[in-house]
Symmetry: C2
């Protein structure tokens, strides 16, 4: 009796080991990316990760070079009906307006205070950066981070009716995790403000501050109460969009990434920069074609316009991720409302 | 007989385990930093590392926050009789001068072409950055890196008569290793050019490109033969010295470091920035007081002037590392000359 139990246990152990080995051999991809539907996009990304992490593959990439870069707005979280940071800036501009009477006659503040979101969208990303820089001048970086934290804790998306940090894409969270499980370091390279994104990137995406790259305002070193602080100035110093993305990647990372993910023409230069590296590379565009679960927009959109990059993708072998077709779910499950 | 051997093996194993545990408990500091002499500086740095990596210590620092920043010139490698990058720039300016006749009448090129090193030194770090930026404009970042690589492979220090990459401080190489062995990430934060230092930082210091922070020229994204490249422009964009150091640390790292090492007043703001973090922090100044083995200079030097920081160190509890007293050896042993 004892012997039979032992034999059964031994057989079970054998199976477990065999399955584990199979799992290692086949990269366990069946369990990876559960919110992605089987299809070309999921296969392409999983196979690329397998190929570049298999020491016996001709496409093996040493761990130090395994760098994946992600746009944020429209790639990791939603960007409709307006960039979330714009909604934060509007909140701050309205809060601060009584102390800044000159804003009522200068753009883009005038438009913000009139509440004309469409007019603001037409002013482009530079207007957003101006709002962000100007509405926070005179604050230290720590005070700014605190104001973002406060807003994120209470504000809700106007139509999705959930916190902004819950308007992230579940399939992309899984991809970030899967890449890190495979020795890739994940960087954010976004037109969004670097100080803004750092407030939530660790907690929401698992991306530490030193791997967050974005647009920035100038800062000045000052001493307050004997402590050195950095004070955000009204001047925009750098916009991390279009050609700015390769420039920022070079500045912060110092080598070409292996994988790049974006969703708009603002990411085109980053994808070209990545895929022109020596050795294997991978680029993908998230295509917003799901009006039911998210939004559907591309060539004609004022936000996240995707036109030239969409034209170039097929010839360059870039993967198009269709939100409608390739994603089983879009947003993370909502947790029960807090009391 | 078999049993006695087994008993002896078992006793040996026991001792090995006991020794390993002792080693863990006491941090094995006796073997660490072999080129540092016993004394206050060595003890202070080793004890700080022990305290911040011991999970039971009130000063424990979680691994993600374990960041140590190092100035380069005069802290990790020598900076006499002139910044090494200045010697490289002079080499390049002379090489390129026939194609740039206007340099014969404009500063600091005129001074360089006249070979007046003392006059050049008096023009300060901004002159160095100008030389570096201007003498390399029109080159891609890859072409620039290649020119640095070529120079490093052949040039020798004028008085130490060894390659510049062998003019690094052996005790600091050991410190970098010891910090990394204890879960610290080591960053370079230097007035030197970021593209210049990245060429050798990995090989010489074990510091990867994304952990090298420095001064920079503006770059432009261009397409050459269908490949996107970054072309270095003549404009200086940022000087990573004095107030620039905390600004650059905030931009690239996004959190205050725990440990900072410098050797001049250009590092003062970085040391103040580091030691004003919440929680334990450590700052040290390398004091060049060894005219026999290296150089002796501080308050009156045109290069690496150490005056205000030296005044502030005692009251702030910063460690002064005397090269003469605290270092058993200064430079790494010279390997046999290559055929």
């Amino acid at each position: 009796m004892y012997s039979a139990t032992r034999r059964r246990a031994s057989r079970l152990l054998g199976w477990t080991i065999a399955l584990s080995l199979a799992c290692i051999n086949f990269g366990c991809t069946s369990a990876a990316l559960p919110s992605w539907r089987d299809g070309q996009a999921r296969s392409a990304v999983l196979q690329f990760i397998e190929r570049t992490t298999d020491a016996d593959s001709p496409d093996f990439v040493p761990p130090a070079d395994r760098i994946a870069v992600f746009d944020n707005d429209g790639t990791l979280w939603a960007e409709q009906p307006a960039y979330f940071q714009l909604l934060f800036a509007i909140h701050r501009v309205r809060e601060l307006a009584p102390q800044r009477p000159e804003w009522s006659t200068t753009e883009p503040f005038r438009t913000v205070l009139h509440g004309d979101m469409h007019a603001l969208a037409r002013q482009g990303e530079e207007a957003l950066a101006k709002l962000v820089a100007a509405s926070h001048s005179g604050m230290t970086t720590d005070e700014f981070a605190e104001s973002v934290r406060r807003w994120l804790a209470s504000a809700r998306h106007p139509t999705l009716d959930r916190p902004f940090t819950a308007c992230v894409y579940q399939p992309m969270l899984e991809l970030l995790d899967h890449l890190r499980d495979n020795g890739y370091r994940t960087f954010i390279v976004s037109g969004g403000g670097i100080e803004f994104m750092r407030v939530f990137a660790q907690e929401v995406y698992g991306v530490p501050p030193e791997q967050v790259i974005g647009s920035r305002a100038a800062v000045a070193l000052e001493t307050r109460d004997g402590v050195p602080v950095l004070v955000k100035r009204p001047a925009i110093e750098f916009i991390d969009d279009k050609a700015g993305k390769p420039i920022a990647i070079n500045l912060h990372i110092g080598r070409r990434p292996v994988m790049a993910f974006g969703n708009s023409d603002g990411d085109l230069d980053m994808l070209l920069w990545t895929t022109s590296r020596t050795g294997p590379s991978f680029a993908a565009l998230i295509h917003h074609d799901d009006a039911d679960r998210e939004w559907a927009y591309d060539r004609a959109s004022h936000i996240g316009r995707l036109d030239a990059a969409l034209n170039q993708a097929p010839a360059r072998g870039w993967t198009i991720v269709s939100m409608r077709r390739d994603w089983e779910s879009v947003f993370p499950p909502q947790s029960a409302p807090q009391p």
